[in-house]
């Protein structure tokens, strides 16, 4: 309850009013502009002028100056005073009579008509339906039982316009439009004096306790309810606000938006109409009257008059915020919205939201804080600036003044609690991330991104790399030292790269790979660099770092070139020739690169093929030169060589053949001979020197792979010839020859073979071959016979069809008419329709033209 909504300021002190006459009491007051009227129990009306001053300290004080006092001459207390400033009249209730007096001289207006007798209480309609500015509408409770009268008060007369009766005796009244709000003896009710319709509100024992009826706005009233409640009721008889909780002894109530002020025996209480909470309590003894006049709340004891001066809204809000009462502050601000110009309200509201956000932030209520920051459109930098060193030194930001919060910085806020600091940092991370994805970072992206980068780096956050790899505005100059401090060299490299400084990035990474700098972000940084270089568009850089990469590991380093997009090669600097030249020193890399060209990309260029073949060969030879030669490796190396020799037909055969002279690489030799189409030489090597018969057979198959059957057969015959040739000693080759024949029977011409075979060979030996050959021949014969038969029968069928279409003889004579045009035939040429009906040639053609779809059915056949 720390809002100071009002200040109690004395207006008319006791001395001024009654001096030392102890028995005189204040009965009623009325304030109208600067004019204050006070009615006393000794039948006086006092008129004061109330001036407002502000002291040098900014306090509001009042000075009252007595203008006049007037004795009404009735020896009765003055019960009520109401001013009608437009008429310059004052209505006075005294001794059950309302008289109208002049506001200035307090003289009763002359004519005797300006007087109402038998009045218990009266009220003025502040919202009259009748718009006449020169009269005042008044509701009067008559002493006569159960009646309320409506009067019009003019400058010099009063006139009753309506009289309505009530179910019980009324004792308090308020008027708004046509609606009378009445306190009856046992309940409150609303009565429409125009239609007579009534609406019970709720029971209240007016005899036991003085009722309160107070108009608080258009068609809404505030009423004292049982249990010390202040109930709100509309003219329709419903409550739109929850009641406020006064004390049982409440005497009077007044409204000064957004507060309801009530007076009881010892205190003035202030409740908010917005949340019904008690906001302020002022101790006030002998309170007697509490009323609001045109928004000014006045308070009187029996001896003196005071003003309850509302403190400026913003001060109240600031007080609430200072007490960390965020919700109340916001409610108060929002409740006052309609009383403040829109743009001014918006600025104020935003500021309050931001302050509220910082209060909650200080309490680590991040969710709420975030919501308030968002609604208050907080400049993110306000938040960032709380965290030491996060804003780039180049940032032009300065904190808002007056400050939005009481914190110097995060350390001040956390008071050394590291866990708090951490939580705040995590919050900022999430907040900045959100700000980036919305327009929250507009105009200060650099500050936001740089701050985020720093937070990520510090927290070892995985998103650091995402941030740098995506579109960002991190400031290099400010981020670099920070990243270095946290050993985020890989990230720093990315940042360099993002800023177009690839050389710096690479330098840094190389140092990390080489172990000069420590950063474990990527264990595969070397591979990363190689990959990076393979995409790098600056060829100078590629050459600069390729050397380093190759020295580290040729197998990986060469990927700089092998992974490169082919289009880059358009540039002479990156042409394969240039690369190979550069790779010269690196044997393994050269091989890999050539393999990439020849085997991978299948570049059809003699130089590469030859180069690769030579390198393969050198490799084999060097392996073989070791002793003992590593068998496994030799096999692998030779396989590669052999495959290349077989598959490629671009390399320079003769060159390789020369290099193979005097080596044991006979299989390779044979292949090379094969490439030269020197099959006899090749087979000779395979059969006589290698004695590898399966290889010889394979050779035949390989060498004739893309040739026709005849070529293949020739090769097989050649092989057979080698087996059976004169320089074939022993019967070792005989077996091979027999096997060859038996296995590849179809490859041979049996007649030719039989002529070749030595006389002495047994038939049994060649059985599979002969059988195969015989079966093959027979099969071929049968197949051709079947084909012949099929062809014949097809021919027969066609003939049959032809005859069928022709039908019997077609008779055409000059007497016979054409079926289509019914003219006679003049010439022998005609067309037969299916069924043998002769028609004119031109008629048939016509018909075909007319019905193209029927074309098939007309099968023209000339007949002469």
């Amino acid at each position: 309850m720390s809002v100071k909504a009002f200040e109690l300021v004395p207006a008319v002190e006791r001395e001024l009013l009654m001096g030392d006459k102890a028995r005189i009491n204040i009965e009623c007051i009325e304030c109208c502009g600067k004019h204050l009227y006070v009615g006393t129990n000794d039948c006086f009306i006092h008129h004061f002028l109330l001036e407002e001053h502000t002291t040098p300290k900014g306090k509001l004080v009042f000075s009252a100056q007595k203008v006049l006092h007037k004795y009404l001459g009735l020896k009765k207390p003055v019960n009520e005073l109401k001013a009608a400033s437009a008429l310059e009249r004052l209505m006075v209730l005294c001794d059950n009579t309302v008289i109208v007096v002049d506001m200035v001289n307090l003289e009763a207006v002359s004519s005797g008509g300006a007087k109402i007798k038998g009045v218990v209480a009266f009220c003025v309609n502040e919202n009259p339906v009748n718009g006449d500015p020169f009269c005042v509408e008044m509701g009067v409770i008559c002493a006569k039982r159960r009646t309320v009268q409506i009067y019009m008060v003019y400058e010099d007369r009063v006139q009753m316009v309506k009289e309505v009766s009530t179910p019980e005796q009324p004792c308090a009244v308020c008027l708004d439009g046509y609606f009378l709000c009445l306190a009856l003896s046992s309940q409150y009710m609303i009565l429409n004096y125009s239609t007579g319709a009534s609406q019970d509100l709720f029971p209240y024992d007016s005899e036991e306790k003085k009722p309160i009826v107070k108009r608080i706005g258009r068609e809404e009233f505030l009423l004292a309810a049982p249990g010390g409640l202040g109930m709100f009721a509309t003219a329709a008889g419903v409550s739109q606000r929850a009641p406020v909780n006064w004390s049982e002894s409440v005497i009077g109530a007044a409204v000064s938006f957004p507060y309801v002020v009530a007076l009881d025996e010892g205190f003035v209480t202030v409740h908010s109409m917005l949340d019904q909470q008690l906001k302020q309590t002022l101790s006030f003894r002998d309170g007697h009257i509490l009323q609001d006049f045109e928004g000014k709340v006045m308070l009187a004891s029996t001896k003196a008059v005071y003003v309850l001066v509302p403190r400026p809204l913003e001060r109240q809000i600031q007080d609430l915020l200072a007490g960390h009462r965020v919700e109340e502050a916001l409610t108060l601000a929002e409740g006052a919205q309609r009383n403040i110009p829109k743009d001014k309200f918006q600025i104020m509201h935003r500021r309050i939201l931001q302050q509220a956000g910082f209060i909650q932030f200080g309490q680590l209520q991040f969710l709420e804080a975030k919501e308030h920051f968002r609604k208050g459109q907080l400049d993110v930098r306000e938040l960032i600036s709380l965290y030491p060193l996060l804003l780039p030194s180049s940032s032009s930001f300065t904190r808002c003044h007056p400050p939005l919060h009481e914190f110097a910085d995060l350390n001040h806020l956390a008071q050394g609690d590291q866990e708090k600091v951490q939580r705040c940092k995590l919050f900022l991370i999430s907040y900045l991330r959100e700000a980036r994805s919305t327009e929250g970072a507009n105009g200060c992206r650099e500050d936001v991104d740089t701050a985020l980068l720093k937070l990520y780096a510090e927290a070892n956050h995985e998103s650091l790399l995402d941030l740098l790899a995506s579109d960002n505005a991190c400031l290099l100059a400010d981020s670099a030292p920070w990243l270095e401090k946290h050993h985020k060299y890989f990230a720093l490299g990315l940042l360099y790269h993002y800023n177009g400084q690839d050389d710096a990035a690479l330098q840094l990474w190389v140092r990390v790979v080489d172990g000069d700098l420590q950063d474990s972000t990527r264990s595969d940084l070397y591979e990363y660099v190689v990959d990076f270089l393979s995409f790098c568009s600056s060829l100078d850089l590629v050459w600069k770092y390729a050397e380093w990469a190759l020295q580290k590991e040729q197998k990986v380093g060469v990927q700089i070139f092998t992974r490169r997009a082919v289009s880059d090669e358009q540039e002479a600097q990156m042409s394969p020739d240039a690369v190979i030249k550069r790779l010269h020193k690196y044997h393994q890399a050269t091989v890999l690169y050539l393999e990439h060209l020849v085997l991978g990309r299948r570049v059809q260029k003699e130089a590469f093929h030859t180069h690769l073949a030579v390198l393969y060969l050198e490799k084999v030879l060097s392996l073989l030169s070791q002793s003992p030669a590593p068998a496994q490796q030799v096999t692998e190396a030779r396989e590669k060589l052999q495959n290349l020799l077989k598959e490629s037909s671009l390399y320079r055969v003769q060159l390789l053949l020369d290099k193979l002279q005097d080596t044991d690489l006979l299989l390779e030799c044979a292949t090379l001979h094969g490439k030269l189409e020197e099959h006899d030489k090749a087979l000779h090597i395979l059969v006589h020197r290698l004695k590898d018969f399966p290889a010889a057979e394979d050779y035949c198959a390989w060498a004739s792979a893309s040739r026709d059957q005849g070529y293949r057969q020739r090769l097989f015959h050649l092989l057979l010839g080698v087996y059976l040739g004169p320089d074939a000693p022993g019967n070792e080759h005989t077996v091979a020859a027999v096997d060859l024949l038996n296995r590849h029977a179809v490859m041979f011409d049996p007649a030719h073979v039989l002529r070749l075979l030595p006389e002495g060979w047994s038939l049994q030996l060649l059985r599979p071959f002969l059988c195969g050959a015989l079966r093959g021949a027979t099969h071929a014969r049968h197949t051709s016979q079947v084909a012949l038969g099929l062809a014949r029968s097809e021919n027969l069928l066609l003939k049959h069809d032809r005859l069928k279409y022709r039908g019997g003889p077609v008779l055409v004579s000059e007497k016979k008419g054409c079926q289509l045009c019914h003219n006679t035939f003049t010439e022998p040429d005609c067309v037969c329709l299916p069924g043998g009906v002769p028609v004119h040639t031109h008629c048939a053609a016509q018909r075909v033209r007319d019905s193209p779809r029927k074309r098939q059915s007309t099968n023209p056949s000339n007949h002469t």
Binding site: E219, P226, G227, G237, S239, N245, L274, Q337
Partner: protein, 238 residues
């Protein structure tokens, strides 16, 4: 069985909302737009009206003090602003009830399942307050504090009143009335009488099975035999 406490409101007769077009602009001092629908919670003191509302609005159970006068909340249900009035059950404030109920579209009559008298009070004291509600006002009868029911008592009970042991009672308030557990059938019977009192046709009204249920603001659990385990009303567009 744990079911989310739910008085979210969904579907039925199109008559329920008759928006008052005659705009009685709220006085200068209002801050929120005028609610479209009013819902009032009635019931004897201490039955747990405020607790039920807390459960509904904030999804938690917290200590309450006996409500003074009344309180209200605004809630957005789709396009409608609903005002929910929590009334004070204390006798002293009884007179305010009909004003709260004026123009209400729905009334939740709340009793304490461990206190038979609180159910009886609904009929004796609170039902007449709803005379000011809309003619087609929807009624629901909610038995609160179901967490305190003692199954044993329910079994014994079919005998004559008073022979059963007084059941284990709910928290602090000492009541002069002998507490007796309430069975749901009694609430359903009351619902029927309410419809008759309101001259509403039982067949066209929402069925008692759906409008009478037992719950606990404390444990947020619902005890009811209704198939959907939640009370559904509706405020379809008018």
């Amino acid at each position: 069985m744990k079911v989310k406490y739910n008085i979210d409101i969904v579907a039925s007769s199109p008559l329920r909302v008759i928006k008052r077009r005659v705009s009685r602009a709220m006085p200068d001092s209002g801050k929120m737009k005028k609610p479209d629908v009013k819902l009032v919670i009635l019931g004897d003191m201490n039955v747990g009206k405020t607790s039920l509302l807390h459960r509904y609005m904030e999804r938690k159970f917290k200590e309450t003090i006996s409500t003074i006068g009344g309180a209200f909340f605004l809630k957005q249900w789709g396009p409608y602003t609903i005002s929910i009035w929590d009334t004070a059950g204390r006798e002293q404030f009884h007179g305010l009830g009909s004003m709260y109920c004026r123009g209400a579209s729905a009334v939740i009559l709340t009793y304490d399942v461990t206190n038979w008298q609180s159910l009886a009070e609904l009929e004796e004291r609170f039902l007449s307050l709803t005379d000011t509600a809309k003619d087609d006002c929807i009624f629901a009868i909610v038995g609160n504090k179901a967490d305190l029911t003692d199954p044993k008592v329910l079994e014994v009970e079919p005998e004559e009143e008073g022979t059963g042991q007084p059941p284990v009672c709910s928290p602090p308030t000492v009541s002069p009335i002998v507490r007796k557990q309430v069975q749901r059938e009694e609430a359903i019977a009351l619902y029927g009488r309410i419809l008759r009192y309101k001259l509403q046709d039982e067949r066209s009204s929402l069925p008692a099975e759906r409008m009478c249920f037992e719950t606990s603001a404390k444990t947020a659990t619902m005890w009811t035999c209704c198939s959907r385990h939640c009370l559904t009303w509706s405020f379809p567009p008018s």
